[in-house]
């Protein structure tokens, strides 16, 4: 399945990636901004939409594939990453993007992340982290701060939140970044870089839930508090420093690239393809497949 890779190149516009389906997010939801940033990043890269496979789970954020002209798969809760890996291995020429929420990705889907990262397929994983379960109306999410009162933690949660930035770095991801729709050019650039990174790339997007989110997690707060990593003079090739910075997730709103492996290793899909090519000459004729079992 060696589909020739084509590009729209300079001719692509964000509109080319926008589908007829009207988003039904709440007015003001951060995901609108994420969608716009994605349109722009896709246009900048210019792959024709039908060469893009866009996989998601379930959640408000997971609706995003339907709003693009790519092949979308709005699958089941928490399983976007395994499905996406199957897609990519089936056809490594596709540009495969995975998206979803903090609950989808780090709660029910949390067991798949480490393995997706260590396999290092050339995938882009965009999480719209709103620190809450939006679709199901406001329950505690794994990134909700400790003590938060929600409908499922009316007396305040008793557990520490997870740290998506630190976890994915510890898993060995080659590209880890954070953005917010409160700063659109930056977010667009991050998505574009993530897609272009040859390997597993993760962007944690602080995407406000206007309906169930906290005050501190809204656009206004983002704008007031965001700290571009570039302005801190962070060198994205410094993994140890990245680990250190990642530890302030939930306290500081760092935006930009935390880590980018300066020497990306070969991707799993490339290794697979290499193996297939190397072994192809050993293929037997279909009618001879059973010969190995012949007793003579």
């Amino acid at each position: 399945m060696d589909t020739a890779t084509t590009t729209c190149g300079a001719t692509a516009t964000p509109k080319d990636y926008s589908s007829a389906l009207k988003p039904i997010w709440c007015p003001g939801c951060g995901d609108y901004g994420v969608l716009q940033a994605l349109y722009r990043a896709l246009a900048a890269i210019g792959r024709p939409p039908h060469e893009i496979a866009f996989i998601s789970g379930i959640g408000c954020s997971s609706r995003i594939p339907g709003y693009t002209t790519a092949y979308g798969f709005n699958s089941v809760h928490g399983r976007a990453l395994p499905i996406a890996q199957g897609v990519k291995l089936a056809n490594p020429d596709l540009q495969v993007i995975v998206a979803g929420g903090d609950g989808d990705g780090f709660s029910i889907g949390g067991g798949h992340v480490a393995h997706a990262v260590r396999r290092n397929l050339d995938l882009t994983y965009l999480v719209m982290d709103n620190q809450v379960y939006g679709l199901t109306k406001g329950q505690l999410s794994p990134t909700s701060p400790k003590g938060l009162a929600t409908v499922t933690s009316p007396l305040g949660s008793l557990e520490e939140p997870i740290n998506p930035l630190l976890y994915t770095l510890a898993y060995g991801a080659g590209f880890v970044a954070q953005g917010t729709p409160a700063e659109m050019p930056g977010l667009t650039a991050l998505i574009e870089q993530a897609i272009r990174y040859p390997g597993f790339a993760f962007v944690n997007i602080q995407s406000p839930c206007v309906t169930f989110g906290q005050e501190e997690q809204q656009m206004r707060a983002h704008k007031a508090h965001l700290r571009p990593l570039a302005s801190l003079g962070h060198d994205p090739s410094d993994q140890l420093r990245a680990l250190d910075l990642a530890r302030s997730y939930g306290k500081e709103l760092h935006t930009g690239v935390l880590y980018r492996n300066p020497n990306p290793p070969p991707t799993y899909d490339a290794l697979v393809r290499e193996r297939q090519r190397a072994l192809a000459p050993e293929a037997k004729d279909r009618s001879r497949l059973l010969d190995v079992f012949l007793q003579k």
Binding site: M1, T3, L21, P48, P49, H50, E51, I52, A53, I55, I58, P65, G66, T69, A70, Y71, G72, F73, N74, S75, V76, R79, L81, P82, I83, A84, Q85, G86, V87, K88, L89, A90, N91, D93, L94, G111, H112, A114, H115, V272, R275, Q276, A278, L279, A280, E282, A283, K284, R286, S287, L289, L290, F293, L294, Q295, K296
Partner: protein
């Protein structure tokens, strides 16, 4: 001289009885006998006791047989752990390690003790001949050659193959042990005279197990992706594919769990490839949600469930046919998906190819419901003529389909042309949420009803797949046997025995278990007044499903028991005769 011989042995994990069984099997099959070997372990997959039984015949053998003709106990403790698996009869020749002492009370109490019990100083013979205890099973093989006519040169050739790469020393050691065994046998003739008749005229055969043939059939059918997670007794399918599939441009992904395994396989199918996952009962349970997704997203997918004893971890190394309910019914919402079961090692090839064909043709998940016995027993298989198989591909959209493409278009057959990422003009939103023809989400009850109808309608042609059923015996017979999976071979032998005794009985063996092919059963059952549905489960799940979908003759009963020990042909025969004795009406 006998035309059919059943040999069994048991020892502790390290004794190598299973490996000895394999040598035996290779020896007899290389001489043109039909043969079959089953193995059995303790409650844990790794460690503990192990046993094997080999059945050899001059005519095809369909099941592991009944009570043993010869039994070998390397020690009593382990032997005792296998009750029904190594059944004794008064006619069995019971051979045991001399230093273990005579058969213990516990065995005697079970009843049906062999009249001929032979103590052999196996360890002593091994030490004397080979200088190491490790060659014990070669002595045993020698005894079997000497006493039962197992072809000596076949065994010798087997030893050569097995030890060729392990250095000269080991081969010689074992050859000496073999010789010692043979000589001991010749020097101490048995009272019993069960010597194997000469082999039938030689014709080449395949020697393999069901998992081997499943993996090979997947390659043959064009499977390009396998996603799975190891689990007994299905892992060998992944293992074989992990060696071979790359040559054909495919990939095996050992996923982090069963959900990821089926998820990746579904993703590969979404991307356009023939795709598969394999597991056993506990893994099937975990795959349930994504199987439902495959149904509503109308994506082809082959799912192999090699059944083992349940529930939960259950009896991981033993066979049972109690996953049928799960295969047919476990989904939330209304789902219909084909369930196929192979009835023997050889049949696994055909059934697997069929599963891929159905999956691709009808854009549906298809379950292959194998079981531990079919999957892991090794047997001689008649060569398979692969040229008579057709291979189906999914329906691609035509150019006109791609104008304003509707992925889930309502068609007469219920099957819609399916695109895949990479195909220009075919973009759509695959979804687990209910959708309209285009794939856009809907919450409309009317749309939902239409889509449910579509998904059920497209499988209606399966009702008429007579070729997925074996029907034997006179069409007007009032008595019947119905059986599936590994029990089918037992039912088949019981059927033949009953026919030989003049009973008016017929036999139905479905490979398509679900949906129930109503016309096929109706026709078969038209003459039937009484009979048995033979299956290895506590509940008799096929019988229950048949009741659900058909008006059964009042006398058609379930004949079932919990798993681990397969039925014996004589048990089924006896039950059938009892039924017939009551008489028709």
């Amino acid at each position: 001289m006998v035309v059919d011989l059943v040999l069994g042995m048991a020892g502790s994990g390290g004794d190598g009885v299973v490996s000895a069984g394999e040598s035996l099997l290779a020896a007899v099959s290389s001489h043109g006998y039909h043969a079959m070997m089953t193995k059995s372990f303790g409650p844990q997959i790794r460690g503990g006791e192990s046993s094997c039984r080999v059945r050899v015949g001059t005519v095809p053998v369909h099941n592991p047989g009944g009570a043993l003709d010869a039994a070998v106990a390397l020690n009593w403790e382990d032997f005792l752990k296998f009750g029904a698996e190594l059944e004794l009869a008064p006619t069995t020749v019971l051979i045991h390690e001399a230093k273990a002492g005579p058969p213990p009370e516990a065995l005697v109490r079970r009843g049906a003790m062999p009249t001929e019990v032979v103590a052999v100083p196996i360890t002593e013979l091994t030490n004397q001949s080979a200088g190491t205890e490790k060659a014990k099973t070669s002595v045993v093989l020698g005894l079997l050659c000497g006493w039962f006519g197992v072809p000596e040169d076949g065994v010798r050739r087997g030893l050569e193959k097995k030890f060729a790469k392990k250095g000269e020393g080991l081969l010689e050691t074992n050859e000496r042990a073999l010789k010692a065994g043979i000589e001991h046998a010749l020097a101490n003739p048995l009272r019993s005279t069960k010597r194997l008749a000469p082999p039938p005229t030689h014709s080449p055969k395949l020697l393999c197990d069901g998992n081997d043939l499943c993996a090979t059939a997947a390659l043959f059918a064009g499977c390009k992706f396998f996603g799975g997670y190891p689990i007994t007794p299905s892992t060998e399918v992944m293992q074989t594919l992990a060696k071979e599939i790359w040559k054909y441009g495919g990939t095996v992904l050992q996923a982090e769990d069963e959900i990821a395994g089926i998820g990746a396989a579904l993703g590969a199918s979404f991307a356009g490839l023939k795709s598969m996952t394999a597991t056993s009962g506990p893994g099937m349970a975990l795959k349930t949600e994504i199987m439902g997704l495959a149904s509503i997203a109308e994506l082809p997918l082959v799912i192999l469930d090699v059944q083992r004893g349940g529930p939960a971890t259950g009896l991981p190394t033993k066979s049972e046919q109690a996953d049928l309910f799960q295969a047919a019914f476990s989904a939330h919402g209304d789902v219909l998906r084909p369930v196929l079961a192979p009835i023997s090692v050889g049949d696994t090839f055909r059934v697997t190819v069929e599963a891929f064909n159905l999956a691709e043709h009808y854009q549906t998940p298809v379950i292959i419901l194998s079981d531990q016995e079919v999957a892991q027993r090794k047997e001689t298989v008649e060569p398979i003529d692969t040229s008579r198989f057709t291979i189906e591909e999914r329906l691609a959209p035509s150019a006109s389909d791609l104008v304003d493409y509707r992925r889930f278009r309502h068609t007469e057959s219920g099957v819609s042309p399916i695109s895949h990422p990479g195909l220009a003009g075919g973009s759509y939103l695959g979804a687990g949420i209910e959708h309209n023809e285009k794939g856009d989400p809907t919450a409309s009850g009317a749309e939902h009803a239409r889509m449910n109808e579509k998904r059920f309608k497209k499988l209606e042609p399966l009702q008429h797949r007579r070729d997925l059923f074996d029907v034997l015996g006179p069409s007007d017979a009032p008595f019947a046997l119905i059986s599936w999976g590994s029990s089918a071979g037992v039912a088949r032998e019981a059927f033949e025995l009953a026919r030989a005794k003049g009973l008016a009985v017929k036999l139905l063996i479905p490979r398509l278990l679900y949906p129930i092919a109503v016309p096929v059963y109706r026709e078969f059952l038209a003459s039937v007044e009484a009979g048995l549905v033979v299956e290895l489960s506590h509940q008799g799940q096929l019988h229950k499903i048949l009741r659900m979908q058909l008006d059964l003759p009042a006398g058609l009963r379930s004949f079932c028991h919990s798993g681990a020990t397969p039925f014996r042909p004589d048990q089924v025969l006896a039950e059938l005769e009892a039924l017939a004795a009551v008489g028709v009406k």
